[in-house]
């Protein structure tokens, strides 16, 4: 190889810098897509803002009917709506970014590039954060402007709640992506619906104690139930429930580890079946 050719040759692919560049490369692909498609951007904000408007009126009505208790309940409801959107948007941001690759039939190119599966996952997580910020921040600002409810009322612990729910969203998204690898684009409806199905057990709007006794262990196996118990504790009593927070992060680690293994297994199975070439068909 000549000297100029050597100088222009690709760098060592194993280095951390090269790895970060591959993650950025995939994120850049999605950011470029949003730049060229404003309906996609609007869609990111549409549902969280709509949810906030509807629940905002409900809570304004409750606060008007019963002063004192009503305004406390209003805060808990709005806090629940906003934080649950973090988990929903986090999961969808990951799963739909993966689906974008399926829809554009680009997976074959990605999987024959030096992009490692863990880098693919990191890039999808990065896009999930971007989508959560674009989708949830306008709703948070709207809650503050229209209903005088600030998420920051809970104190700095809200950042931990935010992170714990995002991690849970990623764990669910890894499971959804595994199903996409297993069943192809036929499983894509799950990318939108799966977390809605968990809502009743996540104790978003009511305490875990409200659930039937036999259902409570199911709820307590979800990081979200601990986050929302913690949220109510912060809003109603002004106390940080460290125990619930620790459970939330511990369960996040467990579910992420488990779903990571499922994803790795399904990816290998897809390579055995040859599914990566025709997953979008």
């Amino acid at each position: 190889m000549s000297a100029p050719a050597r100088a222009l040759a690709p760098g060592r692919t194993g280095s951390l810098r090269a790895s970060a560049r591959r993650v950025w490369g995939l994120m850049y692909r999605h950011l470029a897509l949003y730049r060229r498609s404003w309906p996609r951007l609007v869609e990111l904000m549409y549902w969280p803002v709509l949810q906030m408007v509807v629940w905002g009126f409900v809570t304004a009505y409750l606060a008007g009917v019963q002063h004192g208790v009503g305004s406390v309940a209003a805060g808990v409801l709005l806090g629940g709506v906003l934080l649950w959107e973090v988990a929903l948007r986090g999961q969808m941001g990951f799963s739909i970014s993966f689906l974008e690759e399926v829809w554009s039939r680009n997976l074959g190119h990605l999987f024959v590039s030096p992009l490692r599966p863990q880098e693919l996952v990191l890039a999808l997580m990065g896009m999930s954060v971007v989508r959560v910020l674009v989708g949830v921040v306008p709703a948070v600002l709207l809650a503050w402007a229209l209903y005088a409810f600030g998420l920051w009322r809970m104190g700095p612990v809200v950042v931990a709640f935010f992170a714990a729910l995002l991690l849970m969203g990623w764990a669910v998204a890894l499971g959804v992506t595994s199903l996409l690898l297993r069943f192809g684009a036929g499983a894509e409806a799950l990318a939108w619906s799966v977390l809605f199905g968990i809502t009743p057990f996540a104790a978003v709007f009511y305490p875990v104690a409200v659930l039937p006794e036999w259902l409570q262990p199911v709820a307590l196996a979800l990081p979200a139930a601990h986050v929302f118990e913690g949220m109510r504790s912060a809003l109603l009593e002004g106390v940080v429930a460290w125990g619930h927070l620790a459970w939330a992060f511990g369960l996040d680690a467990l579910w992420l580890g488990l779903m990571g293994l499922v994803f790795a297994r399904q990816l290998r199975a897809a390579r055995e079946r040859g599914a990566l070439l025709n997953i979008g068909e």
Partner: protein, 261 residues
């Protein structure tokens, strides 16, 4: 102390496939069976066969996209089962059946792959490829708005972004008009001569294979049933061109040299 002179070590072949077999289901016949070959560096080889002969399965296994049931593949000396990412950084692939994102512009698409392949001075490389492949005026156009010929040139630019030492091309001139197809073939010939890149080409265009390939692997029902240079195959089957040889093999006829008198 006398100096020990070592003979320069020969570079490993661009592709070494050893007894590759792929069975999609246990009860089904193998899609590829006991496939072995070694593609030397700097040569263009053709992979020929009818629909379902095992070309796509073979290419997918060579790329690590599909795991073989048995056998192994070494690309540029790297075992694709254990060390495929090192090899993948030095090779590339193009197929009309795998798309690039349509909404992204040509430049954005190439930029994505420049990042994925960790290409230094990416913008310079993109400009260079755009000039060579006549894409300069198209860089800001979304991929979905391009003609088939333009898309093929973009796919080639993507495949060359990392200056690959090994290039796998699946029907590189499919759906192109004769003029554009000829231009692509001429370009590939020059690229191989100048870069020393090894190319494995799957094609249904026999004229293309005759022009580009120094050696041809003929596949039928997942097995290599014959191989050799296009000229040697034509002579062995007593035919005028490779298309007739292809038809003989696809229909299970033996070479003239082997046929009973």
């Amino acid at each position: 102390m006398p100096r020990i002179m070592h003979a320069p070590l020969a570079a490993p072949p661009a592709i070494l496939a050893e007894h590759l077999t792929k069975r999609y289901r246990k009860d089904a016949p193998p899609a590829v069976e006991d496939l072995s070959f070694a593609l030397p560096r700097g040569e263009t080889w053709g992979l020929l066969g009818g629909n379902g002969a095992g070309k796509t399965t073979t290419i997918a296994m060579l790329l690590g996209l599909l795991l073989p049931t048995s056998g192994r593949v070494l690309c540029l000396g790297h075992d694709m089962a254990r060390d495929r990412f090192t090899a993948l950084a030095r090779m590339n692939f193009s197929s009309p059946y795998i798309a690039l994102p349509h909404r992204l512009s040509v430049a954005e698409n190439l930029r994505v792959y420049a990042h994925l392949y960790d290409v230094p001075r990416a913008e310079r490389r993109i400009a260079e490829l755009a000039e060579q492949l006549q894409l300069t005026g198209l860089l800001d156009r979304p991929g979905g708005e391009l003609s088939a010929g333009q898309k093929t040139r973009v796919a080639l630019a993507k495949a060359l972004i990392n200056r690959p030492e090994l290039l796998l091309l699946d029907e590189p001139t499919a759906s192109l008009d004769p003029d554009t197809g000829d231009w692509v073939r001429g370009w590939l010939e020059r690229y191989r001569e100048e870069s020393g890149c090894a190319i494995l080409l799957a094609s249904h265009n026999m004229g293309e294979v005759e022009r580009l390939c120094s050696h041809v692997l003929m596949l039928r029902q997942g097995r290599i049933v014959d191989q050799g240079s296009p000229e040697a195959l034509i002579a062995r089957y007593g035919r005028d061109d490779l298309e007739q040889v292809f038809l003989d093999i696809a229909r299970g006829r033996r070479a003239a040299a082997e046929a009973p008198a």
